[in-house]
Amino acid sequence: MRFRRKYLAIFLLPSFALIAVFYLLPVLLTLLISFTDMDYSFQWNWVGLKNYVQMVSDPIAGKVFNNTLFYVFSTLTLFNVGAALLISLITVHIPERVGQGYRALWLLPRITPSTVYALLWLWAVRQDPTALFNWIIGFFGMEPVNWLHKYPWPIVILVNGFVGASFGMIIFTAALKSIPIDYIRAARVDGASTLQIIRHIELPLIKWPLMFVTAYQTLSLLTSYEYILLVTNGGPGYYTTEVWALYSYHLAFAQYGGIVKFGYGAALATVLVILGLILSIIYWRVFRLRELMIEPKIEV
């Protein structure tokens, strides 16, 4: 037994070291910096909970928090889970080659470098009559629109959703394909329609992947800001599309005059870490994800 434990420890050490250096240490550092008023002087001036008190009275933080909830909920339901599920269901019910091709198309946004992808979107939604969106509505005799200015949230959600949908799509497709074909055949013999098969057989059987993707993507969206930074940079108006992670980034790294607030930015980031932990626990309990992890009760 001792012998086994020793080997376990040796084999686990590299991964523990990686987790400690790349996950735990940054969280610890962020937490420590959040108790300072650190800027480019890199001084550890301890200010206690000052940054957190400031956050509570910061009216912008309130707006940004609401933005974040809206962004996460909309992108998650419409794309990262919703569209992903829809694409998977459609593509497994159509001829395999067509389905595969269609899924491959949805992978394009994910494999395109993010700056290139964002730039393509910026071109597509520009105000020029020749920009893609305006070119299309031009066929219906409509006037060109500055899409980013008029519909900032739908664009932000589309930009993120097109990338985010592919993750769920892959997982759901794999799960759907692993459902034994006998179940489907039996249902067909019993006269079930495709919709009934989806509703009563496929969806219940991919319950775990669905819950896993929901949980994972919530946490992922909560901390994502890359595409918003590239497309609207939090605008076009008064913190219109500024989300929590972007606000933290702006304060900590991206001020025009080069004056930065590592302390306050770190406090904002710490809130995200705490929020992520709380949500993880809630998902763990509500979705009973533990059951997903334990060994199966019977051997199949």
Binding site: Y40, S41, D58, Q127, P236, Y238, T240, I259
Partner: protein, 505 residues
């Protein structure tokens, strides 16, 4: 069938390679040649003075040579960081290369084997100021800071207080008669912090409002009226409200697509409107920044009216693109006014958007008009400065770095920069430089410096600027009414603390 299919990609590939080669050849042929930097003849009256300055410099080089020889150095590398971000400002770095060549020739002539080498970087867009400064601080912390660092004067307080740069008073005293006596005195004020001098002025500028003469003509203005406009602005007879009225007329008549353009990203230009309404930025007595409530109310109302009442500024200006929403429409005559900087003239000419003739014929420039009758027209200056880092001192190269700064603080070399990038002279003798004199634009805008304000040398200036920018973006996009915007602005500024900002009515 297969052979035909296979030959097609080869043909495409060959065509592609030929295309690239042709493109490369055309690109090489069309690429602008570096302007020759031939020393211009000095007026004979100044010859004696120049000789004396030269002798002093030679003595300094001789001294340096001995010092270096005793230290056993063979090659000294000076690391220099500079930024445009506008490409025509490249002489901020290029001048160091010219100076180093000169210095090396002197060292050779004096029989020294020591040579000075420049390891320089000149950052241009897409690298903006914020990113440039970030790079510096991180490089410094990892022990890789440049020896000479070009930055905006407003950073002096922060850099000095945190030990990033060294005071230069002793050096400047030592080299005073060589060149520093000649620096326009107000610029020294911009580089002072706690009574010491921390940088050497590199350039300065004014921020005019450019206007299209051809559009005003089409509006029915006579040549004389157009020529008189800058004077009327100077006398306070043409106000910011008039600016809106004229812009509206031009838009309503379909002469232009946009009435007024301003920068598309964060910057300090917007503060000129606040200053024009009588706002104060800085209280010299207490050293604090100032928030003048009445001026900010009027400024926010002006921006709101410009977008939503007069419809002369686009509500999307802040999410615009430099080329498509700023340089392009103005240089093509699709916009009447542009709130810009003197350096934009240099940028337009060097980018080929306007020739000098087109600029002189169709573009005029004036101060930012007074907000209302009785107030003064304004502009804003942001002198850039060369600083020497503490790490340069630790490496023992601060002496050489300062000698190089002294060599580039030269009327002829600085005129290279001023003329190419449309920045203003920092030395009195530069104004009479033959190249500088050939550029009437620079002489024409020189009077603006009488109306200028520097931005505050305050560590929280960046916060002030950010809050203003976000609120203005909210007003223009229609997210905030002027009243809401004022409250947001006031709350934000209050958050900076009463030890940083004085709030006055």
């Amino acid at each position: 069938m297969r052979r035909r299919g296979a030959s097609k990609p080869i043909t495409v590939f060959v065509a592609l390679v030929i295309g690239i080669l042709i493109g490369a050849v055309i690109g090489y042929a069309l690429s602008p040649k570096a302007p020759a930097v031939a020393p211009s003849a000095a007026p004979s009256a100044d010859l004696g003075k120049l000789k004396a300055e030269n002798e002093q410099l030679k003595a300094k080089v001789e001294e340096l040579k001995k010092k270096l020889a005793s230290a056993g150095a063979k090659e000294i590398t000076i690391k220099i960081w500079t930024i445009g971000p506008d490409p025509p400002s490249e002489y901020r770095l290029k001048n160091f290369q010219i100076a180093a060549d000169m210095l090396n020739k002197w060292l050779a002539a004096l029989g020294s084997e020591v040579r000075v080498k420049i390891d320089g970087q000149f950052f241009v867009r897409p690298v903006e100021w914020g990113e440039y400064k970030n790079k510096f601080y991180l490089a410094y912390k990892s022990g890789k800071a440049p020896d000479i660092y070009l930055t905006g004067h407003e950073d002096v307080g922060f850099l000095a207080a945190n030990g990033y740069i060294i005071p230069l008073d002793d050096y400047i005293k030592e080299y005073w008669d060589v060149v520093y006596y000649d620096v326009i005195p107000t610029l020294w004020e911009a580089v002072k912090y706690q009574g010491k001098i921390w940088g050497v002025p590199q350039d300065t500028e004014a921020r005019p409002i450019y206007f299209r003469k051809d559009v005003l003509k089409k509006l029915g203005w006579s040549d004389e009226e157009i020529a008189q406009l800058p004077e009327k602005v100077k006398r306070g007879e043409f106000t910011l409200k008039d600016l809106l009225e004229v812009a509206k007329q031009a838009v309503d008549k379909g002469l232009v697509e946009r009435g007024i353009l301003h920068r598309v990203k964060e910057g300090y230009d917007y503060f000129q409107f606040y200053l024009a309404y009588g706002g104060r930025l800085w209280d010299p007595k207490s050293g604090k920044m100032v928030f003048t409530k009445s001026a900010w109310r009027k400024t926010l109302q002006w921006f709101h009216d410009a977008v939503w009442k007069y419809k002369v500024i686009s509500p999307t200006q802040f999410s615009g693109d430099w080329d498509k929403d700023f340089h392009g429409p103005f240089t093509q005559g699709k916009a009447l006014f542009l709130s810009g900087g003197t350096w934009h003239k240099g940028e337009w000419v060097s980018k080929g958007l306007l020739t000098n003739e087109e600029f002189n014929q169709n573009v005029g420039y004036m101060l930012h008009p007074a907000g209302e009758p009785g107030k003064k027209p304004v502009t804003l200056s942001h002198p850039l400065i060369y600083t020497i880092t503490k790490q340069a001192q630790e490496r023992g190269v601060a002496d050489v770095a300062f000698l190089l700064i002294t060599l580039v603080t030269d009327p002829h070399l600085n005129a290279n920069h001023a003329v190419q990038s449309s920045h203003l002279a920092i030395l009195y003798s530069e104004i009479s430089d033959s190249r500088y004199r050939k550029e009437p634009f620079l002489a024409d805008v020189a009077y603006m410096l009488d109306y200028t304000t520097f931005i505050p040398n305050h560590p929280k200036w960046g916060d002030y600027s950010r809050i203003v920018f976000n609120v203005l973006r909210g007003v223009e996009s229609g997210d905030l009414t002027p009243d809401q915007a004022f409250n947001e602005l006031l709350n934000g500024i209050k958050g900076l603390g009463s030890d940083a900002v004085i709030i006055e009515d």
